[in-house]
């Protein structure tokens, strides 16, 4: 069964979703939780069976799909994708378990299960077209979730989300096709297998163009400044569950794709674009943090904070060394956990008051102490306090980029300041002070359903902050092989210099361990 575990992971939720049409309305929640739980356990099993010491792809599956055009159903998992897969299944479970939506729950749960399929598919795919299939397909359930259960501007928001990302990914598709064509020219065979693409060394000017094409697709998804404006709308209008999944998983597709495609395929271009992208990342960090500070709606604060954090992830990714890239991959998980939790928390108060305006609140700490505590913990995690999950990622990302540039990192480091500013300000507005609004006086504290979703996230946020090793180690091993690959492929002397050569260091490390 382990040979096909990835396929099972991908298609089990979809199949279950189909069968879900039959399940009666009042039992659908239980059904959804069951399916998501099974899926989650399967993904944990995947982790259990995963060999953390090996850096290559594991659980590979391959089946011809369109061999005439080099498209194969190719799956595999390495340390970089393993945890994001688990995060996806985890968040689906949490999302369904803590679902408070009452309108058309059945449609919602079926949609979520389909979404789960696409999410796992994206991270497990090793064939560019299969990747693209899931990548695009993931837009559809999300479109539905935002558009059907969202706020007053939901249609505008969902269409914007869809078309924006769709446009970007179509350009990316052209890039993929070009890449395949290039492979065809080099080898006489069509192939969309990423692993085979890795073996290609492209001329630098091709790299630049292809990098740009892929970049557009990824950047819109991430979303990077100035392509980020769909995000506040999407988050602002989406129902809680939509925001949670969007922030926790869907955004990670973009950053994951940078690590999976851009870096190893175009090492020279990555070095070439390193500083422009770092500049964008810095704009994302500071500018969006400022925009977040100006928000009046707590959900928008969290939404913009996502963009800000994604900036750090991008920065870490383009550090192009093991510390930075591992950090950014870890931060993807961390941000998933934290922003997912924050959106859940916003959902809690929205369910009670049907407003997200901070001016409507104030003094909630005394009315809802447990809520305030959990919110506080997650806020501190978001701010990047040591021993919370975010810190590990942010620290490593910034540390990594420091190797490349002192000044950029110094400016980007203001993330820890500006992040604190908007988060603390928002927290103060919501929780501190006296309860001025009559409606807030009788609010109920978080209930069991909500705790089911929140408590695991709190535990995770602290556990992985204190002891990130089980996650960081497999990530590190896979990242090391990516970096080594990049170094070996790099052609320009600058790229060779910027991307560390680990084989010397690795040998040294072994040497040290022997002693």
């Amino acid at each position: 069964m382990l040979d096909h575990i990835l396929s099972i992971l991908i298609f089990f939720p979809a199949l279950a979703a189909m069968l879900g049409f039959v399940v009666a309305k009042d039992s659908i929640r239980a059904y959804g939780i069951t399916v998501a739980a099974i899926e989650f356990v399967l993904s944990l099993w995947l982790w259990y069976a995963y060999d953390p010491m090996s850096s290559g792809m594991q659980f590979m599956e391959s089946a011809p799909l369109i061999p005439a055009f080099g498209i194969n159903y190719l799956l595999g998992i390495d340390g970089i994708s393993l945890f994001i897969v688990i995060l996806s299944t985890f968040f689906t479970l949490i999302g369904i378990a803590s679902l408070t939506e009452t309108r058309r729950v059945k449609d919602m749960i079926i949609t979520l299960l389909f979404l789960e399929m696409t999410m796992v598919g994206v991270f497990a795919a090793l064939d560019a077209i299969v990747f693209y299939v899931f990548w695009e397909l993931s837009l559809v359930p999300m479109l539905y979730i935002i558009g059907a259960w969202g706020g007053p501007l939901r249609i505008y928001a969902s269409v914007k989300f869809f078309l924006y990302t769709f446009t970007g990914s179509l350009v990316m598709l052209v890039g993929m096709l070009f890449m395949a064509y290039f492979y065809y020219q080099a080898t006489g065979m069509w192939s969309f297998s990423i692993l085979e693409w890795y073996r290609l060394i492209l001329p630098e000017n091709f790299q630049l163009w292809l990098f740009a094409a892929f970049f557009l697709g990824f950047a819109i998804k991430v979303p990077m400044f100035p392509f980020h404006t769909w995000l506040p709308y999407a988050h602002g209008q989406a129902p809680t569950i939509g925001s949670v999944i969007l922030a926790a998983i869907l955004l990670k597709m973009g950053t994951y794709a940078f690590v999976r495609f851009s870096l190893p395929l175009f090492p020279d271009a990555s070095v070439f674009f390193m500083f422009p992208i770092a500049a964008i990342a810095i704009i994302m960090i500071i500018y969006t943090a400022m925009v977040a500070y100006a928000q009046e709606d707590i959900k928008q604060v969290v939404a913009y904070s996502s963009v800000s954090h994604m900036g750090v992830i991008i920065l870490g990714t383009f550090a192009l060394n093991v510390e930075g890239v591992s950090g950014s991959v870890f931060l993807m998980l961390a941000h998933g956990v934290v922003s997912g939790a924050l959106f859940l928390l916003v959902g809690v108060i929205y369910d009670r008051r049907h407003t997200k305006l901070m001016s409507e609140f104030g003094g909630l700490a005394s009315v809802m102490p447990r809520y305030a505590t959990i919110f506080g913990i997650m806020m501190m995690a978001s701010v990047g306090l040591p021993l919370t999950i975010n810190f590990v990622g942010e620290f490593l990302s910034l540390l990594g980029f420091y190797k490349q540039s002192h000044t950029y990192t110094l400016i980007a480091g203001t993330a820890i300041i500006v992040g604190a500013i908007y988060m603390l300000a928002a927290y103060k507005k919501m929780f501190f002070g006296n309860v001025t609004n009559e409606e807030n006086k009788k609010l109920k504290d978080v209930n069991k359903t909500e705790l089911i979703g929140l408590v695991p996230l709190v535990i995770l946020a602290i556990w992985l902050g204190v002891y990130p090793k089980p996650v960081l180690e497999p990530i590190n091993n896979s990242v090391e092989s990516v970096i080594q690959l990049m170094h070996d492929k790099a052609q320009s002397s600058e790229a060779k210099a910027r991307i560390p050569n680990l084989s010397d260091a690795g040998a040294m490390k072994l040497h040290q361990e022997a002693h």
Binding site: V322, E323, T414, L424, F432, V466, P468, E473, V479, A505
Partner: protein, 622 residues
Amino acid sequence: MELYLYIALFAPLVGSLYAALFGASPKSYHTGLIASGLLFTSLVSSAILLSYVMGGHTVHVELMTWMATGDLYIPFGFVVDQVSVVMMMVVTIVSTVVHVYSIGYMDHDKGFNRFFSYLSAFVFSMMVLVMSDNFAGLFIGWEGVGLCSWLLIGFWYHKESATWAANEAFIMNRIADLGMLIGIFLVYWNIGSLQYDVVFAEIHNLDQKVITWIGIFLFIGAMGKSAQFPLHPWLADAMEGPTPVSALIHAATMVTAGVYLVIRANPIYSEIPDVGYFIASLGAFVAMFAATMALVNRDMKRIIAYSTLSQLGYMFVAAGLGAYWVALFHLMAHAFFKALLFLGAGNVMHAMSDELDPVKMGGLYKVMKGTAILMILASVALAGIWPFAGFFSKDKILEVAFSSEHYILWGTLWITAGLTAFYSFRLIMLAFFGEERYKQYGFHPHEAYRFMLVVMSPLALLAVIAGWFEHDFVRLVTTLLPGFEFHTHHVELMLIGVTSLIAVGGIVTAILMYRNGPLSTKWEEHFCYKVLINQYYIPKLYNEIFTKPYGALSRFAWKEIDIRIVDATVDMIANAIYKTGENTRDIQNGNLSTMLRWMVIGLVVLLALAVAFTVGYNAIGA
């Protein structure tokens, strides 16, 4: 010994978690008792470790890996050596006292359990800070104490001023933490490790420039935590927290973390005396600067806070000039008497229903004898009168300055010593002696619980005798810290005399000036008074040049840039496409004639293009 190390470290955490369990439930004494008990355990363990370390050993343990990726390896490692054990002792002693004291102080507060949870968490963070064997661990504690400070300053979260102060403290500290983080990055990329022992062993191999930068960035971190100019305003505002918090965090322990960092990183700073000199100068400046603000302030806690700031300046002078053990010594002594002073102020606050203006008090000596005596003791120690603790430690700092031939620094500190004595006794005089003005304001002061006074007594004792162990202390810490060569033996007595003179002078002046209560209000019109009471207008300035513009810029970024430029561009593209459709759909006007014409037009255009091409083609061909 490892066991004691772990007990010392984790007992406060256990206490914190225990109290947190009851965080939302109504007050229950057991949380306070158990938290205090666990802290006492921690104190005892620290004491055992102290005796062990005094025997010339150190304890070094590695609990587990924290982060490891690439070449980076950061463990949770803890070290108990001569420096950290001193810090541990200071922290545990003061915090045990403060914990027990708080049982009384927080008696009537709804958040009793929560308070102990935070307080113990703070002690844990502080222990991590001082015990860590690497910079990353230090940073954990560093941020941890920042968090607890935020929680405790904003403990009464319904008060706008408290939460504002909490956020201000957190954010200002964050600014400094960035510096520290950069310092850590520099260390890592130049040395490849963050372990103290590796770093300090390798540091001299680095380029002078790099060491300078490391020193500067680490010191920026220290500036934030120790509230050095220009990151100082948060400390005074932090007095919004409950008084035990001020005693523990904002006087005795957390704010000295910056000094601790410089002491701990002495191998780095020894390499860069220029930076050290800068630190010392800044320290001297802050000492004076803060003392002046304390002169006129009418808020008891703020006066003590400025005094703390001023004393931190002293410590930095010592540390900057390379007299690390002196800095540590003053740190320790200061912790005791300043905590005592704060706890005394807490008693007064309790008595006066949280009134802080000493002008509204007066003659409290009669009703609060115990507290008054304790506070006078602490103030004398602070003023540096023989044989109290402050005399030994502060005089040493002046001696260091003199000995290093930095006479301007010495002069500054000397004047400040006078100011210190003056404002301390101004406070004492206004609060405890003179006319009983509180009656006008309708207060009914009463003495604090007896056990609170009892629990303060160890601090009082230490404030008196701590200085007597100078030689043992020097022997202990100089095994790790470099010694300091004094070249002042010939003038030693004269220096002591001069310093004591100005201290006594300050006290006497204060007593004389305030023996009849506060000065006339005419004085309040004076320019100097206004500058000082407004803290040199620095908070206002910050508000004008940072806070407000940041808010305005943020709104501008959102409303103007994000919505009206970035987003509007996207929508404009979409709308342009849509509008094109709207405007050109009339091509399809449904009239067959038009449709036919379009076909013919298409044909004609193509024909024209064909002809044009052919003509061009033939022209080129010919």
